[in-house]
Symmetry: C2
Subunit: 509 residues, 2 copies
């Protein structure tokens, strides 16, 4: 039997843009958690930082922090799982305490992102994307936008309806952020403001994307004392490339991690009183609400629209304001969610932030990379029995999606496919001109690929395109229903590859 | 009771300069370990890479590797503890299995370092040094050189004797590397070659420093099967800055980690049949042989000279050739040591590589940063009883060194101090001219500092210097016994600060 793992203290720094150095932020959060736990020393420190090397040029940070905190030589490790790093560090610390070898462990997670330009930050963040997709200029917002469009198409949502769903998430989270003294944005927004915001990667606008943030979070895990028990912990990966996934509207890594966490905690989705869900992009909260078993697949959007994930709803999501409003220092977010869960479970929030029902079970979900390194944790009051009476049965039964077949090597010169999603990326990486047109295409052979599109003539969702290799990258050229209209434009005609014109001539014979 | 943790498979790539990508190296090592363990899937992957972000520009590597290996969504985390990263990843995996939550875990560690220039690589490696020391232009070899000189002075070794000790380590490790098909350098060297080699940071020459290397290592940990048991695991940190340590000739982090590992394994230093010790610099092997309790403090140099750490000696150290000859891909080395230990314990080496006595207990020691994030592991055959009969008593009793008092803030303008060590760094970081003269000085107030010195007039060890702040950094100006001779040089006289001249005038009245 593993040892029970308790949370004995938790702390956050205010999230936002700050002049403080990363080490200062980490130390501030750590000291808060140690103080609440009544500890001056611990057996080990687990530090979650995604990429201090490039954001701030610092190495060996775990030691620098242990030294700064005067931890007297405690074992110090840095853990990284892309944008779920805070939860990743928590998991390693969890195992260390559960093993029985360590009694008190400090977990600290943070990131300092505002020291660089937005362009440099975006480039660094894009390093977590699979190289096969990065070379198309696909950034995190671009891939999230494609997933949003694919979700809309899969569930027959018109563009306006999709935007209304995304807006509902943004408005809800900003309203909660307005109550949270630690949030980067403490101002509610209206649906109109959401819709009118600057587009980032269509259909995602500024209010659909979590901001660039500095901040740190810390918790103390203990086998001896603490008011909350870390009852379940799940962690799973998915294909690095989004284009290897048959299903774009669900994350295998969440489903698998959730199944593990529910089983370890002997808890079912219906028992979760509130959840902190990784809303780096508003769409991800909707998908998460399905992957975690809160709503059936394809119903998350409706739940969001109907307010069922609001503080008064049946399954409150992101009472903190989420990554959207609290801010998203990439290394910190996964642990900041756990701090919020701890605070709500122990009642350490202002009256305005309390939920209508006193919560007994909390869940947090953190996404690493583009939905491929996800963790789920379940927290309960320490007084809850270790195992529920009677034989516990899981009600969580979401299967994993199969992988799409890999692209043949070498890629064929010309293939046709169907457009699953497309986006216009307004701030593409260096080397690409704005706006950058990108499409997700399922080929006739079944494999998926990204393709560049003409930004002035985006292909319609569901339409058939010809994929042509240009400099090793696919360009989608529209054929089928819309081809007639489209070809009337002279400039577009000139852009058409010769082979397509020949092929069209063959077709019209 | 934690679950026993067994090693079920281990593998290395050949170490050296290669055209393979980092992911290829990691996958190759992983596949070897999985094959030996007879597993196609595992519960989790722990990846140790120190700084892929800057060495190769890759992020989210744990997922990329899990995906490449087809691990079907296994939880994947990257762990980093500076240059002990391979051992750090092993520790996190160890706790995961010991907790009982995971059964089979793959640990992979590697680094790709030869893709950049030596200068860029040195800059990246220097990020692990405390900022207060990095600003003096102190690189890893520079600090190791200061430690070597301090060791020589502490134990009354003349410069020639010190070089003979360092040479003995290099010659021994190169001789072993010559037998190791995985080593970067498979050629013995002579003591003359050692002494004649290009100086790096005096007294350290080219053959005293581990090379820049590409390579990867992997092991499979299992609670179910395996021929070797990971019986002890210790991990401790020390002050980030070397100048905060009262004792320069011993590493607290090794002593503390060793005490933990010996206690967990119920093993004493005298029972260790061979050890892989972190010889990134030859001096570190000598210090390690004392800190691990193999020889009394101050006797490691004699043991090295007398061949007592050779394959025929009482305590063979680095039968693999060590970091010196096998190579030092920073993220991989801590795990490569464990692979070597596993191979020797299970007899999976050529006859020429076997040790005279069949080994029953192996120890590995890995150093992170400048001796401030160290891990010690102890491996025994799986058949060895979990606890030794009778009440086990530790014979390991090395105390931790006290910290030096911190430097007062703001630092005083002029202070005097005694030179503990000095070096000439022949390839200093950008912004410094070669050779760079550096000294380690203990001030009259007791705090330690680095100081720049005149490279043409290095102060003598033990001499008194005046420390003068120039642009926020101390410069050591020699006074005392040698001052008379030294001041005769006109150019040196001109460099003297006015205050010292006035002070000298006062003295001569």
């Amino acid at each position: 039997m593993p040892r029970p793992v308790l949370l004995a203290g938790a702390s956050l720094t205010p999230f936002g843009r700050t002049r403080h150095k990363l080490l200062d932020l980490l130390a501030q959060a750590a000291q808060g958690a140690l103080k609440e736990a009544g500890l001056q020393d611990v057996d080990a420190l687990y530090l979650g930082v995604m990429n201090a090397e490039e954001f701030t040029g610092e190495g060996n940070l775990a030691v620098a922090l242990a030294d700064r905190l005067g931890l007297g030589g405690a074992a110090s490790s840095r853990v990284e799982t892309a944008s779920s790093t805070g939860a990743g560090a928590l998991e390693s610390a969890f195992f260390a305490v559960a093993s029985g070898y360590l009694q008190n462990v400090l977990v600290v997670a943070g990131e300092k992102m505002t020291g660089l330009s937005t362009r440099a930050t975006t480039r660094i963040l894009a390093e977590v994307i699979a190289p096969s997709e990065r070379r198309y200029g696909a950034s995190m917002p671009a891939l999230a936008a494609l997933i949003a469009r694919a979700y809309g198409r899969a569930h027959n949502l018109g563009e306006d309806q999709l935007r209304a769903v995304l807006g509902a998430v943004a408005v809800k989270n900003h309203a909660r952020g307005a109550l949270n003294p630690f949030a980067q944005f403490q101002k509610p927004i209206s649906l109109e403001e959401h819709h009118a915001a600057r587009p980032v990667a269509e259909p995602l606008g500024l209010f659909d994307c979590a901001p660039i943030t500095d901040g740190a979070a810390a918790v103390v895990l203990s086998s001896r004392r603490g008011g909350v028990r870390l009852a379940g912990m799940g962690h799973a990966t998915d294909s690095a490339a989004v284009t290897r996934r048959q299903g774009l509207t669900s994350f295998n890594s969440t489903r698998k991690a959730a199944a593990q966490a529910y089983a370890m905690a002997q808890v079912n989705p219906q028992e979760v009183d509130f959840a902190e869900v990784h809303d780096a992009f508003t769409m991800f909260e909707v998908i998460g609400s399905e992957d975690l078993g809160f709503f059936p697949p394809g119903q998350g959007w409706r739940a969001a629209l109907e307010g069922r994930t609001g503080p008064e709803g049946e399954r409150p999501i992101n009472p903190s304001g989420g990554l959207k409003a609290r801010g998203h220092p990439v290394g910190a977010s996964g642990l900041a969610q756990v701090v919020e869960a701890y605070w709500l479970l122990t009642g350490q929030v202002d009256a305005a932030r309390r939920l209508p029902r006193e919560p007994k079970v909390a869940l947090t979900q953190s996404i690493g990379g583009l939905g491929n390194n996800n963790l789920v944790t379940i927290l309960v009051p320490a007084s809850r029995p270790l195992h529920q009476p009677g034989s516990w049965q899981t009600s969580f039964s979401l299967p994993l999606m199969p992988l799409a077949p890999p692209r043949p090597e070498p890629p064929p010169g010309e293939v046709t496919g169907k457009v699953l999603a497309c986006t216009l990326l307004h701030t593409p990486p260096e080397g690409f001109t704005a706006p950058l047109g990108l499409a997700m295409v399922r080929t006739a052979q079944g494999w998926l690929t990204l393709a560049h599109t003409d930004p002035e003539h985006q292909p319609a969702l569901g339409s058939t395109v010809l994929l042509r290799l240009e400099g090793g990258l696919f360009r989608a050229v529209q054929v089928g229903d819309l081809a007639g209209t489209w070809l009337r434009t002279r400039s577009a005609w000139r852009r058409l590859p010769t082979s397509l014109r020949l092929w069209r001539r063959r077709l019209s014979r």
